[in-house]
Amino acid sequence: MDVKYIAPFMDSLVKVLNDFGISDVKRGKILMKESMNVDMDITSVIGIIGDIRGNIAYSLSADTARHIISAMMMGAPVPEINAIGRSAIGELSNMITGAASSQFSTTGIKANITPPSIVFGKDIYFVISSLILLLLP
């Protein structure tokens, strides 16, 4: 897979989190996988259609999710992830993937996003699609 398809997501993730005052995002090594065993609590999946087609999944621990939701709600305490919190995680996925889609459009690649779906639960085994799967911790 060409790096031009990966970089916009990483750039957008960092930028969107930065906009909410979260600046300590560290990037791990990219892995190519056919399936994915997720040991985190929350995974938000959002689809991409257009010139490129696929899914992007954002996995995070409950603690990280609460931290981000709180940052999105101007520092309000988030003792549990309720409907508003779930909506915030969905919105975060929309913002990151939407921003990445906009970056694609500047290089002539049309990409539209589908609604996010969020899976809660630990030790979930995913097959994201029959396409190429990249993992970016």
């Binding site: 689809g47 409907a83 589908t114 969020i118 639960g121 030790d123 029959s130």
Partner: protein
């Protein structure tokens, strides 16, 4: 747009047809579609496919593990003993893709919705909950001789589309 029954019908027809054609299974629908809360408990194996066009939404099939194994066995002619087997999950995912593809084609032909499908994904795990935030959804419970199935359809409400 009021999310009418007309939008759900193609999914019901498609579920019945594809389960019969691909897995030689009869699906019995119990009652009618009912509004779903924004949290859906996974029965064991769940596949989700999302779409966008003039409206947006998602389609989900939720299967008990025994049913998922039976579907994979009937479709592929091979015995499987774990729902984590990649062929089991790939079979359920592909089945969802075909069901949703059929239904979306029908909706596009009737209502010119211009819907496009993203690739499906599938997961298995204990006590998983799935949530489609902000989009109202409806579910219908189904039964097969191999176990329970739940079908969930979500459509974003919008005033842009008429006739459905």
């Amino acid at each position: 747009m009021s999310t009418g029954v007309q939008l759900y019908e193609p999914f019901i027809s498609s579920v019945k047809k594809i389960f019969k054609d691909m897995a030689n299974m009869d699906v019995v629908f119990k009652g009618a579609f009912g509004s779903e809360s924004d949290e859906i408990a996974s029965y064991g194996v769940t596949s989700v496919i999302t779409y966008t066009g003039k409206i947006k939404g998602s389609f989900l099939i939720n299967l008990e593990p025994g049913l998922a194994l039976a579907v994979a066995q009937n479709v592929n002619g091979i015995y499987y003993d774990s729902v984590k087997d990649s062929m089991v999950l790939a079979t359920i995912s592909e089945m969802n893709n075909i069901i949703a593809g059929n239904a979306i084609s029908t909706l596009n032909n009737i209502y010119s919705l211009g819907l496009w499908l993203a690739p499906p994904y599938v997961f298995t795990g204990r006590d998983a909950i799935i949530c489609i935030p902000k989009i109202p959804s409806a579910s219908i419970d189904c039964q097969t001789i191999y176990g329970k199935l739940k079908v969930n359809v979500a459509f974003e409400r919008s005033g842009e589309v008429s006739g459905c």
